[in-house]
Amino acid sequence: MKYLVLVKQVPDTSLIRVDVNGNIIRTGVPSMLDPFSESAMRLANRMKKDGDVVVAVTMGPPQAGSALRRCFEIGADECYLLSDRDFAGADTFATSRTLVAFINRHCSDYDMILAGTLASDGGTSQVPAQISQMLDIRFISNVIKIDGSKAIQDMDSEYISVELPERCVMSVSLTMTDPFIPSIKGFLDSVDREMITLGRVDLGLGAYSVGTKGSKTHIVKVTVPTHKRDCRIIDKDPKAVAEHLKGVLDVQL
């Protein structure tokens, strides 16, 4: 089996701050492997048996390599960094197209693709689904664990068990796993491992297929949604209050 894990580096999620325009402040905030990516990576590693291969790939600036170091520590056998100035400003569509180009050219013998359900910084959840569409394979979302030949999905109000198809894209939710910290040996081994860096031309993509130019959406403005809440005082006897509330709730439900 060959597991391909799509990962992302994000600013330390506990330190994320937002500026007045609603954009994430990245300056000076340490980066890390997205906890969702970490979940996907850990799940792939748990499924890995002798002879299996786990490949991790990320698209990002050169410093995103440190997220791939973490993947090596967890157990990745190969890591790819897709890094090119032309990739900057990509929306989810351009990101998916770039990743699919990588998959087709460099990792087409995959059996299963794993990714986080969403990214802690962007939070769109679109990339895994888009990739399954582009590759024309099944998409299984919100997976929390693998039970034999079945994937267990956490759909908020219920767990759903689905039979794993031969090839699919799985998006993995945050799961409670024991913390994992490598040993000195594990850390040094990961420093020694070589990751492969690929640019736009290596993926066979034109400048208008990637980055800002290849994007279908553009962020015009980010605003923080405002809710208007008000308080109404119902000054009646309890029974009448109950009746009143029933009316209000019926309407709103």
């Binding site: 330190l15 300056t27 000195i184 850390f187």
Partner: protein, 502 residues
């Protein structure tokens, strides 16, 4: 200026020592003029800001409280021959400096030297003043010469201070920069007064927060640093910064405490590559293990890789890792450790887990004390704060074990081993234990001094450890400190009860 009269139970009457005092008024000055005004109308004044001290230094002893908390802005940045520095009002916290430097928002502050803003924008800097308590104020850190883990590499707060502004009790404002006012033959000229400095040996070579610093050629800045507010009100501090770099955090486990001491002794000869060096004895590690058994979420760390082990925790810059870890691995193996069973974290989240482990030790002790408090309402704990030169650490540790065993006391040991500064936490089950522990504590203080150490390495003296001044410097030393105080604060207006009594 805002002020109010505090009622019983007011947070302005206590600090982390849980000692409580009394005061008629609390004043909140917003500038130096306000401070001078308060000094003019009060006979007794205790200075406070974030109240994170552990020795009652800011707990008022009657009179009024001067709470500096409104003076909490970072006002300027500059660069001089010793590097970049930041100018802070006294209530600025270490956390605040950290986020300020990360944000690089320098628009609304003064450029003390030309081109400083441009210079700062092009650099990643941080402030290595590092008390474990990041919400403490810079003024408090200076007044107590606070230290913490990174004191191992960068020294205590003192070493980072470029200059101070201080208002004396009569309202005289002095602005002193390191190097500008230096004592001659033990006499320091400050604000037209000759201050005769104490003649005792301050033991500069070890971690020491006991008494006023002194030397024949003492810098005026150093007299005020660590003076616990008895000489003047600090109104502004210039602190030097250093380049920020990526760190990798490591915990190495050892089969016995003695093996860990052996490793520490060997590794300090490679001091330049280590940021700090912390030790946890096997008792501390076992305590965490049992807390995790009760509550798996007590601290988010993996299972300990070894049964019954002690641990050494350190940070290094994340560069030349092969060379550095080569040295570490050789030494660790020499002392019985297995580096495939260590923890080594480079990502922010993983490093945080290791720090969570560090902070969980005092918490575990607290929880343990609380858990048996039901059966023993008198339950309490007592922590030591003694440092000795590293060469004498073995002897000190052996003495701890011997005395604690003789006194039949339960305890764990952990702390800043790189500075010869271990905290012994004694767990007290009843009043009987308390009395034996007090006796043991005074023996420890005596032994630490005999071995060339300090009875109060970082917590300071405040109002609860005054006896150590005399133990360390004799009655003559106490008298000399009183004399310095009387020259700069003739009416003994400021922080009465701190360090020495009249």
């Amino acid at each position: 200026m805002r002020s109010f009269s505090p009622v019983e139970g007011s947070p302005y009457l206590t600090d982390e020592s849980k000692m409580t005092g009394s005061a008629d008024m609390v004043y909140f000055p917003e500038n130096e003029e306000d401070i001078i005004e308060v000094l003019g109308k009060c006979d007794i004044l205790t200075i406070s800001s974030m109240r994170t001290g552990v020795c009652g230094g800011c707990v008022p002893n009657g009179g009024s409280v001067l709470s500096m908390e409104k003076m909490n802005s970072i006002v300027g940045i500059g660069v001089d021959e010793n590097g970049e520095f930041i100018r802070c009002l006294p209530a600025v916290t270490v956390n605040q400096i950290d986020s300020f430097l990360l944000s690089k928002q320098y628009d609304n502050i003064e450029e003390i030297t030309p081109g400083a803003k441009e210079h700062f924008r092009n650099r990643d800097l941080f402030c290595p003043v590092d008390p474990t308590e990041m919400n403490g104020s810079i003024g408090g850190n200076v007044a107590t010469n606070a230290s913490g883990p990174r004191t191992f590499r960068y020294g205590p707060t003192r070493n980072r201070v470029r200059g101070l502004r201080v208002i004396l009790s009569d309202g005289t404002l002095i602005d002193i920069k390191r190097g500008d006012h230096v004592a001659k033959n033990g006499i320091l000229r400050i604000a037209d007064r000759d201050v005769i400095l104490p003649t005792y040996d301050f033991r500069k070579g070890i971690k020491n927060a006991t008494g006023l610093m002194t030397s024949e050629d003492l810098d005026a800045v150093d007299l005020f640093i660590g003076s616990e507010g008895i000489l003047g009100v600090i109104t502004r501090v210039d602190v030097y910064l250093i380049p920020r770099y990526d760190l990798v955090s490591t915990i190495v486990f050892f089969p016995t405490d003695e093996d860990a001491y052996g490793f520490v002794k060997d590794i300090v000869s490679h001091k330049e590559m280590i940021e700090f060096l912390e030790f946890f004895d096997s008792g501390s590690v076992d305590l965490i293990r049992s807390c995790r058994k009760r509550d798996p979420l007590f601290v988010p760390i993996p299972e300990f890789p070894m049964e019954h082990c002690s641990a050494v925790f350190f940070d290094m810059a994340n560069s030349n890792v092969h060379e550095k870890f080569g040295i570490i691995s050789d030494l660790a193996q020499l002392h019985g450790s297995d580096i495939s069973k260590s923890w080594c974290a480079h990502e922010a989240r993983d490093r945080k887990e290791l720090f969570a482990f560090r902070h969980s030790v005092p918490r575990a002790i607290f929880d343990y004390v609380a858990s048996i408090k039901g059966k023993n309402p008198g339950m309490h704990k007592m922590g030591t704060d003694m440092s000795v030169p590293l060469d004498n650490l073995d002897e000190m540790v052996a003495y701890y074990h011997k005395v604690l065993k003789e006194h039949d006391l339960e305890y764990v040991m952990f702390g800043h081993i790189g500075n010869g500064h271990l905290h012994v936490e004694i767990i007290l089950k009843d009043m009987d234990d308390m009395q034996r522990a007090r006796h043991a504590y005074s023996l420890f203080a005596g032994k630490a001094m005999e071995l060339g150490g300090s009875p109060s390495a970082e917590h300071g003296i405040g109002k609860i450890k005054n006896e150590y001044i005399e133990m360390m410097y004799g009655e003559k030393g106490v008298e000399e400190i009183r004399k310095v105080k009387s020259i700069l604060d003739p009416q003994w207006k400021l922080n009465p009860g701190n360090m020495v009594v009249r």
